[in-house]
């Protein structure tokens, strides 16, 4: 009996070696893009500029691989709803989906909603050499790994830099602020409502925590204490919240409690904000004379540091493969194509920051954008870390808890009391949802 099993194992190993060797020769002669020809995959997508770009170029992929892709895209909230329903039903109908691992990564891993991409990415038969995973900026690539498993591939690399009105700064004899203290002083000097507000940033409950996280880490705070307890009412976190709220209440715009990225962006576009700290990807829009009143009047700078130095927060949307998919190979081919250099390049040239080193180094792009903006963006993206969301399973819920507290403080309620109450609530949620160590 034992001998028989031995034979089985041996033959499996032999077949495996044969397949591997065959695949090896295949790669040497050029990658087989047609290996999943004739399959159809479904991609549940976030409606976004990158999705539009894939849609427009899809015939090229279908010609290259013979795989038909059905792209079903929805705005963010209906998208999340649809995805949650299909994944919790273990639907085999979803093959590829958009995801924000920095926000929901731990939640999805805990639910078993990501296929592990590591074996596919390391398999030369499944992965084209041209795709070149080493071209991804290391910090961004690593942000998509959880306990050594690659769960998604980034489709952008967004950091928050400081955008400031160079004309106003020059007129007032100011230099771009290097510290958060200097930022507050500059905001004070340039605040001239209602024509110009000193500093504009996100205050809406779902949005405030992301931008605030910059203050949190610059003050030496963190979402969680080293032993996994809520860190949002530590002295450092309170100091961070006090400064953020003070800045926005004193030198911000009147609608701050209800403002998200769209509002922040439009204030800067209309020339009503002296400074914002937000997505580096907006550089392209700010320089577009069709949309912007501040063309030639702005520059970029490094996000200012605080008493405890500086951590640059990273955000990206990514693509993942469903673990319930029966067409993972085809799905993986689509991921490679969608995140390839060729597909990402036109987007990067329009200043949508991509996760690839080669594109950031591209002389064509460098010559197109403002020099200080380029330097700041480059420095930050190489050092960015996913600190914009709390690193826990219940990340979306905790974000809302903190967001409500910050939002209430922005509306004038007692900040310390709000943060203490939020920390207590956060503790309860962590207790219920974190896997026991």
């Amino acid at each position: 009996m034992r001998e028989k099993w031995g034979m089985v194992v041996l033959s499996v190993v032999l077949v495996g070696v044969a397949v591997f060797a065959f695949a090896g020769t295949g790669e040497a002669q050029g990658f087989n893009w047609k290996q999943a020809q004739g399959t159809e995959i479904r991609f549940l997508a976030l409606r976004a500029w990158f999705t539009d770009h894939w849609k427009a170029n899809l015939p090229e992929f279908e010609k290259l691989t013979g795989i038909k892709v059905v792209i079903e895209d929805y705005p963010e909230d209906p998208f999340r709803q649809k995805l949650a329903v299909e994944m919790s039903a273990k639907s085999k109908a979803v093959d590829v989906f958009s995801t924000g691992t920095m926000r929901e990564g731990r939640q999805f891993i805990n639910s078993g909603w990501y296929a592990d991409l590591t074996p596919l990415a390391n398999d030369p038969a499944a992965t084209s050499a041209q795709w070149d995973k080493n071209d991804f900026i290391e910090a961004v690539w690593k942000a998509h790994q959880f306990s050594g498993k690659q769960v998604a591939v980034p489709v952008q690399a967004n950091v928050q830099i400081l955008f400031y009105r160079k004309d106003l700064f020059d007129a007032a004899g100011l230099k771009p602020p290097k510290t958060l203290e200097e930022l507050e002083a500059a905001a004070k000097k340039l605040h001239n409502p209602p024509s110009v507000y000193g500093f504009v940033a996100r205050g809406r409950k779902t949005q405030a925590p992301y931008t605030w996280s910059h203050w949190l880490y610059a003050n030496g705070g963190s979402w969680l204490t080293p032993d996994g307890k809520p860190g949002i009412n530590s002295p450092a976190a309170i100091a961070a919240a006090q400064q953020y709220v003070r800045l926005l209440r004193t030198y911000g715009e009147p609608g701050v409690t209800d403002s998200g990225p769209i509002e922040v962006q439009s204030h800067f576009l209309q020339g009503r904000a002296a400074m914002i700290l937000d997505a580096v990807s907006w550089g392209g829009i700010f320089s577009d004379p069709q949309k912007s009143k501040v063309v030639g009047k702005w520059e970029g700078a490094l996000a200012p540091s605080g008493p405890a130095g500086v951590t640059y927060e990273l955000w990206s949307w990514s693509l993942a493969v469903s673990p319930f998919s029966e067409k993972k190979k085809a799905a993986w081919l689509f991921l490679q194509w969608a995140t390839s250099k060729e597909i990402q390049k036109p987007l990067h040239m329009r200043s949508f920051p991509m996760p690839r080193k080669s594109l950031w180094m591209d002389p064509e792009w460098k010559s197109k954008v403002l020099p200080q903006y380029y330097d700041a963006a480059m420095t930050q993206v190489q050092n960015a870390r996913p600190i914009g969301h709390p690193p826990c399973v219940a990340s979306p819920e905790v974000t809302d808890i903190v967001g409500i507290a910050l939002n209430n403080a922005l509306a004038g309620k007692d900040l310390k009391a709000e943060m203490d109450a939020a920390a207590k609530k956060m503790g309860d949620v962590l207790e219920k949802t974190e896997p026991k160590r």
Partner: protein, 311 residues
């Protein structure tokens, strides 16, 4: 329709009459077999989700593939009623929003219907213009209203400046967010009440009014004593429709405030949405939905009793 055909079929009892040959029992109850597919289909699409939700509300489940739903019995309900501050807030916000907007919409709607229930130049145009908001997509309208309420450059802010009112922050202020949303809701849905009421008014007999006029009733008296009691069932039906919709309002509020600032405009339905699809507490969200179902049921029972009651 089906049952009437079946009855005429049933009556002749002589043997040999053509049935469909599946035995006398089937032939006698043939009408049921005709409606059966529709009943089964409706049962599946209507009852199943309700039963499923009810069932799910007894579990704790995050949608995880790895961990199956955990039985908690009535634990979710205990959590709901034991003092979930989010739930208490949501009930209050929902009652405030629905109560006030429904009251205004019914009063305005009946008044407008009364105005439109007479001949005047441009009546058709006025009616078309008035019902336009009903035809709009709530999400698109919410985005437009959000812009109009913008505290720095919205049109309402501009009006407030012209009227020399103190600066308002509309949706961005916990004190004004619900009144602002109510104004939006009233603008969009008053025409619906108006339209239904108008249909009721048109069908009222003219002779009662003539009789009242002969008896010397003033226009106010004939409105209060004749029109209102007669049109009441129609108005109540319209109010019930609005009530159900209003309690469930989601897209308008979600798009314009996401339930903020803080949780000042987080209605029950928004709260359920966050619990289910943002936080993945499917069991807890289901128990909230069951509660929402009873809230709507209770509201409708109250409204229905007004329909039957005496003036």
């Amino acid at each position: 329709m089906a049952s009437r055909t079946a009855k005429t079929r049933e009556r002749p009892k002589e043997p040999g009459l053509p049935g469909i040959g599946l035995g006398p029992w089937v032939d006698r109850h043939i009408s049921w077999f005709f409606v059966l597919p529709a009943v089964l289909f409706l049962g599946a699409v209507l009852a199943f989700p309700v039963i499923y939700t009810g069932g799910l509300s007894l579990f704790r489940w995050s949608g995880a593939a790895a961990t199956p739903p955990a039985w908690v019995g009535l634990g979710n309900y205990a959590d709901v009623f034991a003092g979930d501050p989010g739930f208490r807030n949501a009930i209050w916000v929902t009652a405030y929003f629905t109560g006030v907007s429904l009251l205004i919409e019914v009063c305005l709607g009946v008044g407008l219907a009364q105005l439109l229930n007479r001949e005047f130049l441009g009546k058709g145009i006025a009616r078309t213009l008035l019902i336009l908001p009903v035809a709009g997509t709530p999400v698109a309208l919410a985005l437009i209203w959000r812009h109009m309420y913008n505290p720095s450059n919205g049109i309402f802010t501009w009006f407030a400046e012209i009227l020399r009112l103190p600066p308002q922050r509309w949706l961005a202020d916990a004190a004004t967010v619900i009144p602002s949303l109510i104004l939006f809701d009233v603008w969009q849905w008053t025409p619906l009440i108006m339209l239904i009421t108008l249909a009721g008014l048109v069908s009222l007999p003219a002779d009662i009014y003539e009789a009242a006029q002969i008896d010397g009733a003033s226009p106010w008296q004939s409105f209060w004593r004749i029109t209102l009691p007669l049109v009441r069932p129609t108005v109540v039906a319209a109010a019930m429709l609005r009530f159900m919709d209003s309690v469930k309002t989601f897209d308008q509020i979600y798009v314009s405030t996401q339930g903020g600032p803080g949780i000042a405009s987080q209605t029950l339905n928004l709260y359920v949405f966050d619990q289910a699809f943002q936080y993945l507490h499917f069991g807890y969200a289901s128990s909230l939905l069951v509660v929402l179902f009873f809230v709507i049921l209770a509201g409708n029972v109250v409204l229905a009793s007004m329909r039957r009651g005496q003036a």
